[in-house]
Amino acid sequence: MAPLDDKKDVPMFSDYPQQIPKIECGASLDTDTFKAYPEHNEALGFPGELLPNWKEVAIAKMGELAKKNRAFQVYLDACVKCGACTDKCQYFLGTSDPKNMPVARQDLLRSVYRRYFTFAGKYFPWLVGARDLTKEVLDEWYTYYHQCSQCRRCAVACPYGIDTAEISMAAREILDSVGVGQKYCNEIIAKLKKTGNNLGLNPKALRATLEDMEEDLLDETGVEVKIPLDVKGADILLITPSADFFAEPHIEGLMGYAKVFHSAGVSWTLSSYASEAANFGMFIGSYENMREVSWRIRQAAKDLGVKRIIFGECGHAWRVAYSFLNTLAGPFDFLDQNYPIPQHILEFTLDEIESGRLKIDKSRNDEHVVTFHDSCNVARGSAMGDKEGGQFDVPRAVLKAVCNNFHDMERDTIRENTFCCGGGGGLLTDDLMDLRIKGAKPRMTALKQVADEHGVNKMVAICAICKTQFAKVMPKYGFDMDTIQSAHQLVANAVILDGQETEDDAE
């Protein structure tokens, strides 16, 4: 088995981030992601393998979803094929495959919906592009709905707000319901239900890892900074992606949260039962699975008797937390109502900075020239603070408070128009590496612009997926893998703890 990303077509930057390619039919048709094993599907309540009567089940599921979800129904009806979305998807820009244009991706499913659920499609299928559901169509769904990161950049562009993510989630839900799941997502959800996190990290290993980090923090600062686990009666429960216990630069972020909490003097804890912020139930469009995964957080919060819940840096997790958690696992009437429920770690950190409780030495980040990658789910599916657009302004405010050199990338590639990193929505798997590299092209091009113009050498992300994706993909574009940083990594660099030994002291 040679490494999966060993394809010879080396990615090239575009002339500018939004450069539109000529369409190339079938260009990414051979992109395939491993199918889930029966045990993965069954753990999620889906059939293990393709059902013999899959066609009837799939059509019935489609009808059911249209009844249960207004968005799905309206979006299937309302598209006029104006074309405004056609140049908005990073996977189309990266692969040139026209089926990666948002409207074309929606049409893979809409064409079948029309055939079975609309007058025109039932009687004049050729007129409205309606088609029968066949095995080929099902395969095509699997291929192209796993080339969508559900980032919703197209939804911002659409005059009616049609959100391809909703269609893509529904398509994956239909596929799962007939026994065709994706290995990456389903294996992970199954693992979380067993161990409490995507990684499969058991409490013993988690404790050992945290102790190791405490040791590092002590070595670095000379201060005993704790990373508590399963502490009953702590005030704050921190829910963070399990990648923060494992990968780089994620871990640096976690150590940053620990420093901030230490400095703020609050009592906090992680939970080994809910040791995961990520919720892949969203990626597969399964309300039930998303609810079950979310519920663990409620259970842990009750069990530990905490007063507040704070989320670490994780993009889609923050969407689920901010936008869905109250619905899925609420009401949180047992928590302290004086704080946002849940709160984002950046909201907490900004409060600490603005109140002056956090001692900052900005100059410690002077070697870095920083830009910020708005993670898609944070940017378009959630908010922070209490003002509109807080999800853009709060992270930038924190970064500007901890470093002197900050430059934004081009306006059409950030904030609500941000490009996906290329690995979101359940695509962060090695078997999709080629797609991930191509999907990162617009972002890499925008980064190159600020690197050339302003000497930017660090890009900050607040999402575990973004961080892993960029760490992997950046070297393909000629950037060092440590160009990608956690926001709290830069915070950690600049924070000075009480009693911390600094270089100035040494001199």
Binding site: I23, K67, K68, N69, R70, A71, Q73, V74, Y75, D77, A78, V80, K81, C82, G83, A84, C85, T86, P98, M101, V103, A104, A120, W126, L127, V128, G129, R152, A155, V156, A157, C158, P159, Y160, G161, I162, D163, E166, S271, S272, Y273, Y287, E288, R291, E292, W295, R298, Q299, D303, Y322, S323, F324, N326, T327, P331, A379, G381, A383, E388, G389
Partner: protein, 251 residues
């Protein structure tokens, strides 16, 4: 004879339009929104959402930001059509309302705005490869239908005038369920026939974007998910999950 055929056609088309769109709107309104999926830039208040939707419907704000060419053509077409339609009120009211009198001269001109917009959109559909790729026959036919309506109307306004007094009398009659005589100009018959066809296909075609835009959860929800729970009826019936951590799962 022809007058009766058109009368029946119009009654039928009106019923299909009203009942069809009504049913669709009812369906949209009663289908649950299980989660808050509002998309940025999302207002934090109801008033903000009203303002956002106002900008979408009046200025096509999102389209303006995402594609200037489509915006220009779509804007010409939709606003042209609206003013043309308002002008048509003069054929349905015994004494033409004062403001309809005022816009009438502009209304006549607006036929050209409408046509320009439609032809621009059609040209893009044919010439721009990405839009050509996503077009079905129905997308072209819809444009053909609208061009047909606009062109036949403009023809009567500017070239071969029909007996407009007689048309008005016929329409006023229809409104009072009396079928009078309609001029049998071929162009008028084409014009009215196409309009009836448009009304009939409205509730079963992509013209549903008109009610649809008001029901898209991504735009019409308030960004207040941390404060407001929304549990839809079907979600309430899901099996309950345990409070606290079951002893056997304790870490």
């Amino acid at each position: 004879m022809i007058s009766t055929v058109y009368a029946v056609l119009f009654y039928l088309a009106t019923i299909l339009l009203v009942v069809g769109v009504g049913m669709r709107v009812w369906k949209y309104a009663t289908t649950p929104v299980p989660l808050n999926i509002v998309v940025s830039p999302a207002p934090r208040t109801k008033r903000g959402v009203v303002f956002r939707m106002f900008r979408e419907v009046i200025f096509f704000e999102s389209l303006f930001k995402s594609n200037k060419w489509i915006w220009i053509f779509a804007y010409l077409f939709h606003w042209g059509m609206l003013i043309v339609l308002l002008r048509h009120l003069r054929y349905f009211t015994l004494n033409t309302w004062w403001w309809v009198e005022i816009i009438s001269p502009i209304g006549r001109l607006m036929a050209f705005a409408m046509l320009a917009g439609l032809l621009g959109l059609w040209a893009r559909r044919v010439l721009q490869e990405r839009i050509r790729y996503i077009s079905n026959p129905s997308d072209h036919l819809m444009l053909a239908l609208l061009v047909g309506i606009a062109a036949s109307g403009a023809l009567m306004s500017y070239v071969t005038h029909t007996d407009i007094i007689m048309v008005k009398a016929y329409m006023l009659g229809l409104l009072r369920f009396r079928i009078g005589d309609m001029p049998t100009d071929p162009i008028l018959m084409v014009h009215l026939g196409l309009v009836a066809l448009l009304m009939i296909i409205f509730p079963i075609s992509k013209l549903l974007h008109v009610p649809g835009v008001f029901f898209a959860p991504s735009r019409t929800l308030v960004d207040n998910a941390r404060e407001k729970r929304r549990v839809s009826k079907w979600a309430r019936n899901l099996p309950p999950l345990p409070e606290g951590i079951p002893a056997n799962e304790e870490a």
